[in-house]
């Protein structure tokens, strides 16, 4: 008969006491495992969310964490906006020329590659425009490339797929520039269906509603990323909403901004385009003459060419108080702003150099989302986890004291048993070991039970967790730290067993046999 078997018999003999002691320990361990699992889920959610196929986020100078939060997680408020020309700095000459031709702007913009275009080399730059809401969800103005270039999933290799519909297009005859795609959670919570039109509100969820609506042409499959919580609209449509085009009337404030623009241009030109040193971003003369009027809250910009971009809003035009033959013309480059730009370097080796180059500039900053999230985890979530672990650790310590009390209280009843075993030839160390084994059994069973309790709870809420964070958790999804729980609890159990084990060691055989 092994000592473990003897200890197990003693454990079973005091069934109620053993159960209560083990159960209290199981609750403590369960709490620890839950905290560790929740931390694991949070970590993975943040890391996964920060890994959606781009390696840098570029935005206005300010807090890189805030830039990451608002551009990657659609949390917090956007810092400011960047001129569209900043976005164009990531594009090669031919694309810049195409934009100048299509939207209108300084022709000289078309004469050179963007300053950071060489760093992109095979990668991409996707503009984001934020500031509007659909219910409580962020409206993200972007380009169709968002759905073709970005990836998601644990290995960042999964394309965006649609449960219904398709990605919005730059322009469609039926919806003009006003197509939208909504994330899975948005579709569910806002209860919208394909073909439905929504009207973003400006500034915050309770802000004033824009007059222009976007027709939902696609609903994304769940991705487990913040994109599930966003409504994506065509950037061109976004610009066409009232208040979204940057005024280009001259005023002292703008003059100051122009000075800043010129300083940036000068900086850029010093490196690559010295011939543009004295030129301004502001549209001047030539092929583009912006003529800005306000009509029913819609900024109409007429261009003298490129009639393919002039369309009629044939969808629900009357509900917006517009005539069915209302024409929308794209706004010019000087009127355009972006909130941030998602960057993927074709060669990741270029990323640090590009990040440095951007950060050395006057206006923009580049932030690495994963780095920022790691900082956030270390600064905020890490200490929070430590506090939670400390609290749950104390719970375990209290449970360990329970083991001590339980076994120690039983010692009075067991002195005779110990004396009998000693009379049968058991050594002092043997009876001491039996007590320690008993404590270990409580610890082992309590730990396993606690782990099972915690993971059962996690599995029960796995649907909710996946819905909220996109992180899939199963029964055997474990945190790296969980492996430490058992040794720690066994250590606590050993400490708890020392006092009763010492009492067992000192048990007097003669007097207890006669008792």
């Amino acid at each position: 008969m092994s000592l473990i078997h003897i200890a197990w018999r003693n454990f079973c003999h005091r069934a109620l006491s053993s159960f209560l002691t083990t159960f209290s320990l199981a609750l403590g361990v369960g709490l620890v495992v839950l905290v560790l699992s929740i931390y694991g889920v949070i970590s993975e959610a943040f890391t996964r969310n920060a890994s959606v196929g781009y390696n840098l986020v570029v935005g206005p100078k300010g807090s890189p964490l805030q830039l990451t939060l608002n551009s990657v997680f659609y949390l917090s408020q956007p810092i400011e906006n960047l001129p569209y020309t900043e976005y164009m700095e990531f594009l090669p000459k031919d694309e810049r020329a195409s934009m100048v031709s299509r939207f209108g702007g300084d022709p000289k913009l078309a004469e050179r590659d963007g300053r950071y275009a060489p760093y992109i080399a095979g990668g991409f730059a996707i503009p984001l425009a934020l500031g509007d809401y659909f219910g409580e969800f962020r409206v993200v103005g972007t380009t169709p490339e968002f759905f073709t270039k970005l990836k998601h999933g644990p290995n960042v290799d999964e394309d965006f797929t649609f449960s219904q519909g398709r990605a919005f297009s730059n322009f469609s005859p039926e919806n003009s520039y006003f197509e939208a795609v909504v994330g899975a959670r948005v579709a569910k919570e806002m209860n919208v269906v394909l073909g439905e039109k929504f009207y973003p509100t400006h500034g915050d969820p309770s802000g004033h509603g824009h007059a222009l609506g976007f027709t939902i042409v696609g609903i994304l499959d769940p991705t487990g990323t913040p994109n599930d919580r966003a409504a994506f609209v065509n950037l061109e449509g976004f610009y066409l909403m009232d208040g979204h085009a940057k005024p280009i009337e001259r005023d002292p404030e703008e003059d100051r901004e122009d000075v800043l623009d010129e300083a940036v241009d000068a900086e850029e030109s010093n490196e690559e385009q010295p011939e543009t040193e004295s030129e301004s971003d502001a549209p001047t003369t030539g092929s583009i003459v912006p003529e800005i009027t306000e009509s029913n809250g819609v900024r109409l910009v007429q261009t003298e060419s490129n009639t393919s971009d002039s369309v009629s809003d044939s969808t629900n035009g009357t509900s917006e108080g517009q005539s069915s033959d209302q024409e929308f013309r794209l706004i010019s480059i000087p009127e355009r702003e972006v909130t941030s730009i998602l960057i993927r370097n074709g060669n990741i080796m270029f990323a640090p150099g590009m990040q440095n180059a951007i950060n050395e500039g006057i206006r923009a900053q580049a932030a690495a989302p994963i780095g920022e999230i790691n900082k956030l985890m270390n600064l905020i979530v890490g200490p929070l986890l430590t506090a939670l672990l400390a609290i749950t650790g104390i719970t375990c310590a209290v449970a360990a004291v329970g083991i001590l009390v339980s076994i120690y209280n039983s010692m009075n009843d067991r002195r005779r048993d110990i004396a009998i075993m000693r009379a049968l030839g058991a050594r002092r160390t043997t009876v001491t070991s039996i007590i320690i084994f008993e404590s270990f059994q409580v610890a082992l069973i309590g730990t396993i039970a606690g782990w099972l309790l915690a993971h059962t709870a996690i599995v029960l809420y796995s649907g909710k967790i996946e819905e909220q964070t996109g992180v899939q958790v199963g029964f055997f999804t474990t945190s790296n730290y969980e492996i430490l729980v058992l040794p720690l609890v066994l250590g606590l159990a050993l400490i708890a067993a020392l006092l009763p084990a010492w009492a067992a060691y000192r048990t007097d055989v003669g007097s207890n046999l006669s008792a």
């Binding site: 008969m1 003897i6 018999r9 003693n10 079973c12 003999h13 005779r416 048993d417 009998i420 075993m421 000693r422 009379a423 049968l424 030839g425 058991a426 050594r427 002092r428 160390t429 043997t430 055989v509 003669g510 046999l513 006669s514």
Partner: protein, 229 residues
């Protein structure tokens, strides 16, 4: 016959609560031969159980020597005495002292758990069958009668194949009708197992069954009517 137990000049005293020492045993010489069955008669409080504890190595003498099977046990360390006890001594208690958490067969196995022959599980069953409890293997002590409990205790005491069985008033808590059978069982199994037996009792009728009867009052030099030092 060769002496299995050889005691010389054995003295044992206990500290009294008030600080003085009480001499309990002073035995100049006492022997038990191999295979011999000895009954030790003595009055209650006369030191019978203390003598058994000294022979079993549960107590250390103040002076003198206890030699069992050629080994001087009072020269052993406590751990050495434990090992010696596990391998050489069987013990039957007055109150049986079965462990309530264990079944009958487990209690018997405990008798061999701390010695070298730890895994002779079949022997535990054989012994229980020999004491007539072949259908009570998985009964706990509380589910057995007093007589059955004592039978389990006898089986346990022999489980480790001891050379010497010490029985401390084994029939004191058994009803008179069962006492004879219990005693007969102890004596018979000891003969079968070739185990020497030392039984302490205060019942002369019981003692009469044994090869030799020793009166503790005669071998112990302490006068318990005045003993103190």
């Amino acid at each position: 016959m060769t002496a299995l137990v050889n005691i010389k000049d054995l003295k044992k005293s206990f500290t009294q609560p008030e600080g003085g020492k009480l001499l309990v045993l002073d035995i100049p010489r006492f022997q038990i031969e191999k295979g011999e069955q000895v009954a030790m008669i003595g009055q209650s409080g006369g030191g019978k159980t203390t003598l058994l504890h000294l022979i079993a190595g549960l107590l250390s003498p103040d002076q003198g020597s206890i030699q069992i099977d050629g080994l001087q046990t009072n020269g052993l360390s406590e751990e050495g005495r434990d090992r010696f006890r596990a391998e050489t001594i069987g013990y039957v208690f007055q109150t049986f002292n079965l462990l309530p958490a264990f079944t009958a067969i487990e209690n018997v196995r405990l008798g061999m758990a701390f010695g070298s022959g730890k895994h002779q599980h079949a022997r535990a069953g054989d012994l229980l069958a020999r004491v007539g409890l072949q259908d009570r293997f998985n009964y706990r002590p509380g589910q057995l009668s007093v007589g059955q409990q004592q039978r389990v205790a006898i089986a346990r005491s022999l489980a480790g194949r001891p050379k010497l069985l010490l029985a401390d008033e084994p029939t004191a808590n058994v009803d008179p009708s069962s006492a004879d059978s219990v005693l007969e069982l102890i004596c018979e199994t000891c003969r079968e197992e070739e185990v020497s037996l030392l039984t302490v009792t205060h019942d002369m009728q019981i003692a009469s069954r044994f090869d030799r009867i020793e009166k503790l009052d005669e071998i112990n030099q302490v006068d318990h009517t005045t003993a103190s030092s």
